[in-house]
Every structure is written in structure tokens, then in C-alpha cells.
Assembly symmetry: C2
Homo-oligomer: 392 residues x 2
């Protein structure tokens, strides 16, 4: 186990109708003027936005509004939000939506007190300050409601990059599973895939003696394997939605990943797909992650066999652990297919001839990247090729 | 799953020599005058206290000192600490030790800003304020380094009672597994038992649809089953100590217990043993917890069978789930015996003829207590009797 620091000071308020507590929570965490940040029409149509506004008004908290966040949130709206917050003297960001809205709010939160271009934080610079952020989550997926991470896409050139700091961990997150019951099966499955990917990116590690975090990772994965098919067939199953929603948060606060090297190559390789085709991040991961696994599993077949046995319930082949390892990957892809996810480029809407362009944009150059297996540009091209041609 | 609030704002700093960061951490969390609170000679002899003092001095943080905390910490020292803090204008409590020292520091932290008797908070009253607390943990056991709980014993009458509030969750906790490598096997095993008990008290619940927290509970238990025997035979196995230390924290922040009814009867029933005989809390739990399980398992044999299969690796007897349930309890007691824990009154140093006195002090009266199975005074007497006569 490696040394680590773990700091997750977010107050999570979980359960039915918890959005009615937003006003109280903003006040408790020091907000006096709020920017209400959201996406498209669904938060308006469902009445959620009105309920949130009512809760703020009941506590006499004034607010400005900025809607229009799109999936794969853009820098252009972030600039707009920064301007708006400065003009209106906003001191608290309230994101109502999924990971895209929350990530956009985090970017604005870092940008407001910063004199330079907020994109600096998505190019490696650490922020020195940020406005506080609170969230009302509507999609179980990104885990941004409990993480110190944010991913933004630069509209000019389609660069998709991440920033990370404990400063942008939300002060509070309101998690009402009922809000996710209206989510269509495809988006639900995309979210579930993202949650599982967040765990797998932590699970495949070269760090030894990580029994506890291995087991915690498996706990989240086993939960997703049980609960996801239930919400695909019964979208308004509150209890299954509740387990998935909390699993999504637990998957990404880093409680399941502390003390171990991690490998975020699948996320990085996927980001080029969603940046180029504007596909859902989870759908891109469904195509990339098993392909990445097939490319790297020989690096540590027993670790992959462990996942196969403990998560997918495979019988261990003690004579041929690699057979078990591959069987686990096969079952993962089958699982993704069974919940309606694409498993190859054609199903995703991607083209194999774009691979050189995807690799170039990924920008590894002549170097290598990755914490489990370091990948060259040619390795990444091969993973895209495996993903392009995969089948169940 | 039930609605819940989860708020664990403690900054955990985990790894070798992390105690050298104490000065920086106190400063970061706003401390300007510290009470250094500790137990007996071991923190002095090992040089730990000197290292902590050096770290404070390097950051020009003045401190007062109060040592002498005993296992099952007493109210008398808490009163002394409150007086000392007021006299010296202390604004930050720094506990260096195990759960007893931390619990004592938490009690002082609540007592200083309170005009009444601090014991009110151990009699059901909620505190309105508390001084901030930081910890340097030396024993993996109580989980107090990440919890909002504290247990204190009233010297006059031997009453052992708990208090709980988010206000006394530590601001930071420094976790250096190397500090636990000198712990003798008996104390190590007591700590491991306490950790497992903290999980089991959450695991046995009547709340349904708790897949994620079930799995998280099992993750911690499986880790303890693997790692505890390793540190009994190799006390200075740093990696096994590290997994146990972090498991002890995870077991009690409540991340494994949110959204479910819990049952703390085993802890309550044990408290009378350690209050009367001044035995180690973990040793008392080793005697009580399997006895409690034997008394209540018929309330939900399948839940006990689930633990037997998933934690103890039992084969499920689908014709007779109760057989599997009992086999799991048997393996738990055998495990405790194998790590050197007592399994009955004689091994603990308790007397069966004291049972009426124990039951009376427990104070259920004519009522019932417990979240999984509500127990009457007679039920509790029967659990003491099972515990008195148990064997492996």
C-alpha cells in the first residue's frame, strides 16, 4: 500500500425529496448569493428547478441563473459563467444536473477568483482558491458530486481535459434517487458503465498489499452487476436506483482507490471518442474499456483472474489463469451488451479510419502514458483497433 | 435503503512518518494553542511524543500537556482537561494515542465551551459547539479517529456511556501504521475484534435493499480475516498493519453503515463487562458478539447464512440455511480463538454469578433495546449466560 491523503469533506444528503433542503444547506455552507447552474429542459420540465428555487427563496437566498450546459461541457459557457458570477457578486455555485453541469460549475468556481484564463487549471496548473460548490444530482454516473475532479472540452479544437483539486470538492451534494427514475435506459446504462469504469481504473494496479481497497472496489462492482439490470427493466425501481446512485458517489470519492497506483488510460482514450463524435462518455467507455483489458491483461493475469472470480463469478482455472482472466473480460463485455451499451465502433457511431486522428489528438507523442501498463501511441492505436472490431 | 446524511470531513494523512506533519495540520485547521492529550508511558518511551512536540514547535504552536488517559477513559480526567484548557486558552485538542485518548479528547472538546456538566452529552444531550480535535493514532481499533462518537466511563459507579455528534469528528487524523507494529499480539487482536464488531453491528439489519453497504461491510470483514492472523504471527508486517489500520477507520466513519438500521446491542452488553472488570473492550466483544449472534440468528437465518458464505467461505446449505448460519458463527468464534481472544467468561476473567448485576447496570428495565432484535433484560441475561459457557 502506498502512503496517501484522503479528504472528502462533502456533506451528502441522501433520500427522497432531499432537494427541499437546498436552501438550508447553502446557508449552512456560507452561500449568500448563488449561481444556479443547469443543463437543458429536463430540470425545468420535471419541476426540479422550481423546487430548488423555492427552497432558496424560503431561506431568502438570491440567485442568478445560467442554463444550457451540454454533455461534454464546453469552455465557452464556463467563460460566460465566470463573467456572470463576477458581475452579480455570486459567492456560491449550485449545480443542478449530472456530471457535466457539476464539472462546468467547478470550472466556473475556480475561474471566478483567478486573474488568468481558467483553462490553465485544465493544463496542469493548481488553483489557489475556488468558490464553494454545492450540487443537486440528477444522473448517477460521473461521481463529480463527491470528487475533486472536473472535465471540460475546449470548443475550439475539441480538446477534452481534466482538472483536479480538493478545493473543488462540493461542500454538499443532495442525492435524491427518485430524480433518476425518469432517466431513459440508454442514459442509465451509460452512467452505470462510467461508474464501473471509475472502479476498474483504480482496480488494475501494480501496487501490492491492497487487500482492503481491492475488496471495496469489488463491493461497488458487485453492486452494479446486481442493480443495473434491475433499473434497465424497471426504470422506476427506487431501491435499485438508490444503490446505484450511492455506488456512483462511492466509486469516485477515491475511498476505493487510496493507497494504490491507478491507471486512467481507458478514460483518456475514451475522451478522444466523445470529443470527436460527441457520443456519451459511458458509451465510449463500454467500447474502450474491455478492449484496453484485452490489450493489457497479460501484464498481470492473476489480477484479471481475481476480478473474473470475485466480480463475475467465474470458476478459477488454476492450470490456466489466463483463461479465467479472458473469461472475466468476456463477461464484462457481455454485461455491457446486455444493458444496451455499444461494444464496437459501428455500434458507437465511430469510424476505424479515424484512428490515426484519435491517436494524434490523444497526444502521447513519442512518450508513454499509464500507471498499470505504460502505453505508446502505437499501443493506443491497437486498443482503438480492438475496440473497433469487438463483438459479443 | 433508508434516507441518510453522511458527513466525514476528517482529513486523513496515512503513511510512514506522517506524524511529522502534525504541526502543519494543526495550523491548517486553525489551531493556535494545543492541548496535547495522551495516555501512559508508551508514547513517551517510543519517542512519538517528542516527534509530535517537535513538529508543533517547528510551526511555533504552543501547547499544554495532559497525559494519563487509561483504557476505558474516565470522567475525572475529562474534568481536569476542561479546566486546563480554559486556564491555558487552548483552542485545539490533539490526541496522541488510541481510541481511549481520542474519546477523552472529544469529551474535553465538548466540555470546554459548555457551561454545564460535560456528562450531559453522555446522557443524551446534543452539543452546540466543540473545540476542534486532531489525532495521531497509535492503535487500530476504536475507529474514533474518523467517527463522531466518544465513550467515557463515570468513575463513580462505573457507568460507561457514549456521545455522538458531527461536531467531534476529528479535523484531521494522522495514521502511521508503523506506530502499531510494536503493539503486543493481545492488544492487536483486541483491536481487530473491535473493528470487526463495528462492522457486524451495522451488518445485521432489518433494512432491505442494502446491497452496496452489505458488500462494503463484507469488504472490511474479508480484509480483517486475511490480515489479522498475519500481524499476530508477524507483528512488524507493515503492509498487513496498514490494511488493518485503514480498515479500522473505514469500519467506523459509517461509510459501511449509512442507509440501514443498525444494532449496537453487542457493544452495549459488552460495555458492562469492561466497566465492571476493566477488561479490554475488544476482549469483551470476542466473548459477547458470537453469543449475541447465537441468540438472535433465527430472526433472519438467511442474513447470517450470507455472512457465513461471503465472509467465512462456508458452503451454502440450501436445504438448511440455519446450518450455514450457525457454521458462520462457529467460524467467527474459532477465528477469535485463533488470534488469542477469550471466548467465554472464564477466559475473560468474568463471573457467571455477576450476570444479574451486569443486567441491572445495563439498565434496560422492563423495556427492550436493539435495532435488529429488540432484547429484554431476560434476553440479555441469556446472552451473558451463552457467553459465560461458550467454547470452541
Amino acid at each position: 500500500m502506498n502512503d496517501f491523503q484522503f479528504y472528502s469533506p462533502t456533506e451528502f444528503v441522501f433520500g427522497k425529496d432531499t432537494e427541499a433542503q437546498v436552501g438550508t444547506l447553502v446557508k449552512k455552507h456560507g452561500g449568500t448569493k448563488v449561481l444556479l447552474h443547469y443543463g437543458g429542459q429536463s430540470a425545468i420540465r420535471s419541476g426540479l428547478l422550481d423546487r430548488v428555487k423555492r427552497s432558496l427563496s424560503e431561506k431568502d437566498i438570491p440567485f442568478a441563473e445560467l442554463g444550457g450546459v451540454k454533455p461534454n461541457p464546453r469552455d465557452t459557457l464556463v467563460y460566460e459563467g465566470i463573467e456572470l458570477c463576477r458581475r452579480e457578486n455570486v459567492d456560491f455555485l449550485l449545480a443542478v444536473g449530472g456530471g457535466s453541469v457539476i464539472d462546468s460549475a467547478k470550472a466556473i468556481a475556480m475561474g471566478v477568483p483567478y486573474e488568468g484564463d481558467f483553462w490553465d487549471f485544465y493544463s496542469g496548473k493548481s488553483p489557489a482558491a475556488a468558490l464553494p460548490v454545492g450540487t443537486v444530482l440528477t444522473i448517477a454516473a460521473a461521481g463529480s458530486e463527491g470528487s475533486g475532479d472536473s472535465v471540460i472540452t475546449k470548443e475550439d479544437g475539441g480538446l477534452k481535459r481534466g482538472a483536479g483539486s480538493d478545493l473543488i470538492r462540493p461542500k454538499f451534494s443532495v442525492l435524491d434517487p427518485a430524480l433518476t427514475c425518469t432517466l431513459p435506459p440508454y442514459q442509465t446504462a451509460c452512467g452505470a458503465t462510467d461508474i464501473m469504469a471509475h472502479v476498474f481504473e483504480r482496480y488494475f494496479t501494480n501496487t501490492t498489499e491492497v487487500e482492503l481497497t481491492d475488496r471495496l472496489c469489488e463491493a461497488v462492482l458487485l453492486t452494479m452487476v446486481r442493480e443495473t439490470p434491475r433499473v434497465i427493466t424497471e426504470p422506476d425501481n427506487y431501491q435499485a436506483r438508490a444503490n446505484i446512485m450511492w455506488a456512483g458517489t462511492v466509486a469516485h470519492t477515491n475511498i476505493v482507490g487510496v493507497g494504490r497506483d491507478q491507471d486512467w488510460n481507458s478514460h483518456g482514450i475514451e475522451h478522444e471518442l466523445s470529443a470527436l463524435y460527441d457520443c456519451a462518455h459511458g458509451a465510449g467507455l463500454a467500447v474502450i474499456m474491455p478492449a484496453w483489458m484485452e490489450f493489457v491483461y497479460k501484464h498481470d493475469p492473476l489480477r484479471f483472474a481475481q476480478a473474473a472470480v470475485r466480480v463475475w463469478g467465474c470458476q478459477m482455472d488454476f492450470e490456466n489463469p489466463e483463461v479465467t482472466a479472458l473469461e472475466g473480460i468476456r463477461r464484462f463485455r457481455q454485461f455491457l451488451h446486455s444493458i444496451g451499451m455499444p461494444v464496437n465502433f459501428a455500434e458507437l457511431g465511430a469510424q476505424e479510419e479515424d484512428i490515426p486522428r484519435l491517436v494524434e489528438k490523444h497526444g502521447v507523442g513519442t512518450g508513454k502514458t499509464g500507471g498499470f501498463v505504460a502505453l505508446s501511441a502505437e499501443d493506443i492505436a491497437e486498443i482503438y483497433r480492438i475496440a473497433a472490431r469487438a463483438s459479443v
